[in-house]
């Protein structure tokens, strides 16, 4: 890659400046302060960005104006041209635009690709350097650079072996690292240690199991002993408790027995239920007595109420008639209303009938009703009407058509005109004219023949069709020939046939009548012409125009004659049609008259006015129908009125008769009659109710009187039973019985208590046999000593129970533990875990070991390599160094991993850099840089080399040789050399062709 052009928009002292650079070497010559370093830094800035200054000031501000930055036009080895454009006000990348040859724009990524991975560090130290960098070896031994030196010849590109070793070590140390904490193996080993510890604990389990089983057996024996002792103590405690409990009941038993032996035993003979029987007998006596008293009272009350009741039997005998009249009364009221309605309807119908009679002109009712208004009659009027209308219409239509036909016949008769010529004459004249035409053609043919005969004729056009015919004949002939068996011969024969036919065609027109006959013919034709003209009615000297006009005239006349003939035929037809119509007219008129006569007959037969139209007649018939309906309805209403009056009169008669039978006054006013009926009906209802009540009371009295007798008998029986009971008990009164019964009950209660106390004591003693012993012991001992002994026994039980429970708990614990130990999975699980961990640790440690061995091998290889092979960089540097030093030094040794290089002179021992003069050291560094530049260029796009007056410390000879080396470098790399020394410029560019002045 080379820089074709540098454009600076603004950078330090430069503003809007540009430089075109040569392909190989360009020398930029300028005095101090001319801007060499500024331009060098501008190139660096455009390629790698603006540097930041520590004090915050801007690095090369564009104080001369313009935007800070610019662009480089780069040309690659491939010929591609790229532009790198960068601007910015501060440090850093700024705004970078990288434009590709195709115009695409990119940024840092594209620039990195262009620079082949070279970074600012590498570029500053190797490709763009001044005296300062050259003097400091540290810039060469910085890591990025040294790795290049040693990676260069290894074939490993940018990576150094040390890089690879570092990577491998990182990988290895992920598994294990001395003093690390989080590494996989470290953690695995730590876990293994834990698990092993836990397993050691768990492995004590068989011993523990054995001990537990032994201890459990001992505990079970002890438990049996304790259980036995505890049972004995508990029994003792229980017995004492019962003795103590028996002391109270025993004392009570003694007292009760004493009381029973000393008390009154008189009531003991009395039956147990004597008092209850007494109570029952007394109760039944009192109950019967009370019932009798209550019954008597009820009878008296009923008798009193029956006496107060009186029933009206007279009115009850007329119940049916009164109820009938009551119902009739309601109908009577409806009749009055119906009477009014019928009356009004009859009046209205009478009025309407009168209206109808008026409509037909004041006929009487009888006359109107005598008219037949049946449907047949109405239908007859319609039929007759239709006949009248249709005959009239037919007549009118025929009369119309007759008029029209007559007018047409008259018109046709006027139009017809007769021609002077008849048809035959016209045909004769036309035949003559036709023959005249034929004669004209014949005459023309004769003229032609006359011309031919005299040879003064021009070639006739009729030859052309003859020639065509000839061609066809030839073709047909040859085809016919080819159809034969021998095609060639056939063709020849055909050709001959064709030629013969053609010859005939050509010769024929030449043959014709002899010339001398022509005039005769002409004369005949002339004569015939004159005859024909005469026949055609044309002058004999008429020219062809006149003849033609005559022909046209004849044609017109013939057409007119034909039209007239057609008109005559049509007139005859019309006259015939007219006569036919007139006959039809007469027939229609007779029909019409017959229809009118029929209608008049119809009217007369029904005594209707003879001038009535069918429509009017039908209206009269409609009035008749309406009048007939009204009369019927009116008569119906009149009949209803009469019936209502009859019914009302009958009702009054029945009421009067009833009242007479009951001896009641007949009301004066007719309007009071209905209320009388209602009052009678109410009385009937009351009388009925009274009768039912009286009957009920009578029944009740009968029943009560029947019950009285048994009650009295029961009272007597009860009294007898009571007396019997007292006698049975040998007692005279009920009170005596009651006293004795009370004494007996008290003694029974004592005896019951004795039984209960004994039962309690038996329960305490356990059985009846032990009762005596228990009671004796209870009586013999005082409660305090008994209680003390019981407490002692209870304490022993509690103590033994506690000990037993403890034993049991321990037994349970041991059993559980034994079961646990028998089924303990943890030991197996931990062993499994350990096995897994161990397997993983083994795998991981193997991985680690493999890497350790790989590292050892790589390290060993690297050392061998360094020992046995010098990198290519050093070889290249050696070559340049030999050139610059004129062969004084044969070898450069750059042991990798060491911070220094050594040089070996042709004679003498090798020297380190600090054993070299400043000039020689700088020459060495320059040579090393050249080596690196060459190396870099082998693997990537070569970068331009920028040097800033680096030859100042060289003596003249060495400077000249160095210049030669630089020129050699410039054959493969672009070299931009800044200098303020014209002589340096001259050394590098003796012809001055590539030197640019910065001033």
């Amino acid at each position: 890659m080379r820089i074709e052009r540098i454009e600076v928009d603004g950078f330090g002292r430069f503003s809007d400046a540009h430089w075109e650079l040569a392909e190989g070497m360009t020398i930029l010559l300028g005095a101090n302060e001319a801007g060499k370093t500024t331009l060098l830094n501008a190139i660096r800035a455009l390629l790698f960005g603006f540097e930041s200054t520590r004090d915050g000031r801007t690095w090369y501000p564009a104080f001369a104006g313009g935007r800070r930055g610019g662009r480089l036009v780069l040309r690659l080895q491939s010929g591609e041209r790229w532009t790198v454009d960068r601007h910015g006000d501060r440090g850093g990348a700024g705004a970078l635009i990288v434009e590709a040859p195709n115009g695409n724009r990119g940024g840092q990524e594209q620039l990195n690709a262009l620079l082949g991975g070279a970074d600012r560090d590498l570029f500053n130290n190797i490709f763009a350097f001044g005296l300062g960098e050259l003097e400091a070896f540290s810039s060469l031994s910085s890591e990025g650079v040294s790795s290049r030196i040693y990676g260069a010849g290894s074939g490993l590109g940018g990576s150094s072996v040390l890089d690879l070793e570092r990577r491998l070590r990182t990988d290895q140390e992920a598994a294990y690292k001395a003093r690390g904490q989080e590494q996989t193996l470290t953690r695995l080993l730590s876990r293994i240690e834990e698990v092993r510890g836990r397993i050691a604990e768990l492995e004590q389990q068989p011993a523990e199991y054995q001990a537990a089983v032994t201890e459990l057996a001992g505990l079970r024996d002890r438990h049996a002993e304790l259980r036995s002792a505890r049972t004995t103590a508990a029994e003792q405690r229980e017995r004492l408790r019962r003795v103590l409990e028996a002391q109270g009941p025993a004392t009570r038993l003694t007292a009760l027995e004493l009381e029973l032996s000393q008390g009154d035993a008189g009531g003991d003979e009395l039956p147990g239920d004597a008092e209850a029987v007494l109570d029952r007998l007394l109760a039944s006596l009192h109950e019967a007595e009370a019932a009798l008293a209550s019954l008597d009272e009820s009878i008296v009350t009923a008798e009193r109420r029956r006496a107060a009741l009186a029933v009206d039997e007279a009115i009850l005998s007329e119940v049916a008639e009164i109820n009938a009249l009551r119902d009739e009364r309601l109908i009577q009221e409806q009749r009055a209303a119906q009477h009014e309605q019928a009356d009004a309807a009859a009046a209205r119908l009478g009025g309407e009938l009168t209206d109808q009679l008026r409509r037909v002109g004041g006929w009487s009712e009888d006359r109107l009703l005598a008219v037949d208004d049946s449907l047949a009659t109405i239908e007859a009027t319609r039929e007759l009407e239709r006949r009248l209308v249709s005959t009239r219409a037919a007549l009118e239509s025929l009369q119309q058509r007759t008029e029209t036909g007559r007018a047409a016949v008259d018109a046709a008769g006027n139009e017809l005109d007769e021609d002077d010529l008849d048809d035959r004459e016209i045909s004769a004249r036309r035949a003559a004219l036709s023959e005249l035409d034929d004669l004209r053609v014949t005459s023309a043919t004769l003229d032609e023949r006359a011309r031919l005969t005299h040879g003064d004729v021009r070639p006739d056009r009729s030859w052309l069709p003859a020639l065509v015919t000839l061609g066809v004949l030839l073709l047909v002939g040859s085809l016919v020939g080819s159809y034969l068996a021998f095609p060639v011969h056939g063709m020849v024969v055909g050709l001959l046939l064709g030629l013969t036919a053609a010859a005939v065609m050509l010769v024929r027109p030449v043959a014709g009548p002899p010339v001398r006959d022509l005039d005769d013919e002409r004369r005949v034709i002339a004569t015939r012409r004159r005859e024909l003209l005469a026949r055609a009615g044309v002058d004999s000297d008429a020219d062809s125009e006149t003849v033609s006009a005559a022909a046209d005239d004849l044609a017109a006349k013939r057409a007119g004659l034909r039209a007239a003939s057609q008109q005559k035929v049509r007139l005859a037809e019309r006259r015939e049609a007219l006569q036919r119509l007139e006959r039809e007219c007469d027939a229609a008129r007779s029909e019409q008259d017959a229809a009118v006569a029929a209608w008049r007959g119809f009217l007369a037969q029904r005594e209707l006015p003879e001038n009535l139209s069918p429509e009017a007649a039908r209206q009269v018939l409609a009035v008749v129908t309406a009048a007939r309906r009204l009369t019927g309805e009116r008569d119906e209403q009149l009949q209803r009125l009469s019936a209502i009056a009859d019914a009302a009169s009958a009702f009054d008669d029945r009421l009067d008769a009833l009242l007479a039978r009951l001896g009641r006054p007949i009301p004066d006013q007719a309007t009071l009659r209905p209320s009388t009926v209602v009052a009678l009906a109410d009385e009937v209802q009351r009388a009925g109710s009274d009768r039912r009540h009286a009957e009920e009371l009578d029944e009740s009295l009968r029943e009560q009187r029947g019950r009285r007798e048994p009650l009295a008998a029961a009272i007597e029986a009860a009294r007898v039973a009571l007396a019997g009971h007292l006698a049975q008990c040998n007692l005279s009164s009920a009170d005596e019985l009651r006293r004795l019964a009370a004494v007996a009950a008290a003694r029974r209660a004592r005896r019951q208590e004795v039984r209960e106390v004994r039962a309690t004591l038996i329960a305490l003693a356990g059985n009846e046999d032990a009762l005596g012993g228990l009671v004796d012991e209870a009586r013999a001992n005082d409660p305090a000593s008994l209680e003390a002994r019981r407490e002692e026994a209870a304490a022993a039980v509690t103590r033994l129970e506690a000990e037993e429970s403890e034993t049991l708990t321990r037994e349970g614990g041991l059993s559980t533990r034994i079961a646990q130990l028998e089924t303990a999975e943890e030991l197996g699980a931990r062993r499994q875990e350990l096995a897994l961990l161990q397997a993983r640790a083994d795998a991981e440690s193997r991985r680690w070991a493999v890497r350790a061995v790989a590292l050892a091998l790589l390290g060993e290889t690297r050392r061998r390599y360094e020992r046995e092979r010098q990198p290519q960089v050093v070889r290249d540097a050696e070559r340049y160094f030999a050139t610059i030093t004129d062969g004084r030094y044969a070898r450069i040794v750059a042991p990798p991993g060491e911070g220094d290089v050594r040089v070996e002179p042709l004679t003498g021992t090798s020297r380190t850099t600090d054993q070299l003069s400043r000039g020689t050291a700088e020459q060495l560094y320059l040579a090393l840089r050249f080596g690196l530049i060459e190396q870099f260029g082998r693997t990537t796009e070569p970068l331009p080399v920028v040097m800033d007056d680096i030859l100042v410390n060289f003596d003249r000879d060495r400077a000249a040789r160095a210049a030669g080396a630089i020129r050699e470098l410039a054959t493969r790399h672009q070299v931009i050399f800044f200098t303020c020394h014209p002589q340096t410029a001259e050394l590098l560019d003796p012809d001055g062709v590539v030197t640019l002045s910065l001033d």
């Binding site: 080993l189 068989p206 493999v850």
Partner: protein
Amino acid sequence: MPSIQPFRFLHTGDLHLDSPFEGVSADAPAHVLALIRGATTEAWRNVVRTAIDERVDFIAVAGDVFENSSPTLLGQTRFRDGLSELAARDVPSFVVHGNHDPLDGRSWAPSLSFPELTHRFGTTAVESVPVMRGGLEIARVYGRSFDRPAVTANYAAAYRREADVPFAIGLLHTNVGDRPGHGNYAPCSVGDLRASGMDYWALGHIHKPGVVLEADPLAVYCGIPQGRDPGETGARGCYVVDVDASGTPSARFVATDLVRWQHVERSIDGLTDDEALQRSLGRSLAAASEEADGRSLVVRLRLTGRGQLHGHLRRSGYLDDLRELLNEETAAAPPFVWVESIRDETRPSIDLAARRDTPDFVGDFLRTVDAARRAERTTDPEEHDAWMATLRTAVAPLFDDAPRGRRHLRASRPDDAALFAELLDEAEIIGLDLLLAAEEDR
């Protein structure tokens, strides 16, 4: 031979109850772990169930019921519970003890009581116990238990058939013919077995089930009922032995395992992308699962071959992701196929021999590794010592300097030449991958 009563018995042994699964190096999901954890005891339950289902007349247990080195009471009680269940169904049991569970007075909990129908053979001499059915002897079992873990005497030589025995069964924990890879305890030869006059040898100690002698007598290693480490692949179980009226035994293997170990190897040759690899592995796992007889599988995958996928496999975390992806599909629920680990033994696709001759750093590296390898075989003691010192120094920080590493990583400590050779092989690939990746980055 006179006619005898036909009968049937079950031959098991090497139960190793409640002992851990070894060699699982990845974090297993809980349900996998649970199954693995209970697998030995559950397999013993399967043995008991088989005995009941097959209506055997008795069972013979050929030692190593549990592991003395990792004893748990649970293992012993589960054993006793199983025998009790059989006794409840009148099925007697005959037990000898082996190197892992010797009757040394310490291994077995002395207070553990066995059912009356269980006979545990003593340690002092070969005992014989008749097996009765309906008052008649159907067979006689001969046995002797180990009295210590390492019995070096030939017990089999003392087994001798007695007169009038209908069918003689020799029950013994032994290494027949000094099989390599197994402790040579109570060693004996095939000749000893033949000379004893037994009709059937019920042998224990070798975990792989198999027939030692086809006939005269039939001698069988019952194997372990449940494989417990990556080496114990395939079906594991017990034998049901039918003895016909002529006294001829025929043994039938019955699988009792719950989970099987399986090694699946797949070459990356010809595989071009991750998906192809995943698909191919998926197919391999499905095939393995189909052969597993409905059981869960713990699979060790080994990737071999060389190809472009090698670079992918070497990426950090790639194998873990791949394993998780595969397990997502197949290890969700029993019967599962759980990929326990994926071993990458693939090689980069470059021509190593050619590369070794290239005069650059990679070539130097390969030659260095070669030099280290050669040092294992060199006759130059100085070079050998120098290389061994280099390698020991490299691994010392973990295995020697770290106290916990010293304590817990003894088993994996690289201290012999063979192990170093393996490490060198792997280190070569790792270093090469790094260097080639750096080359590609150029």
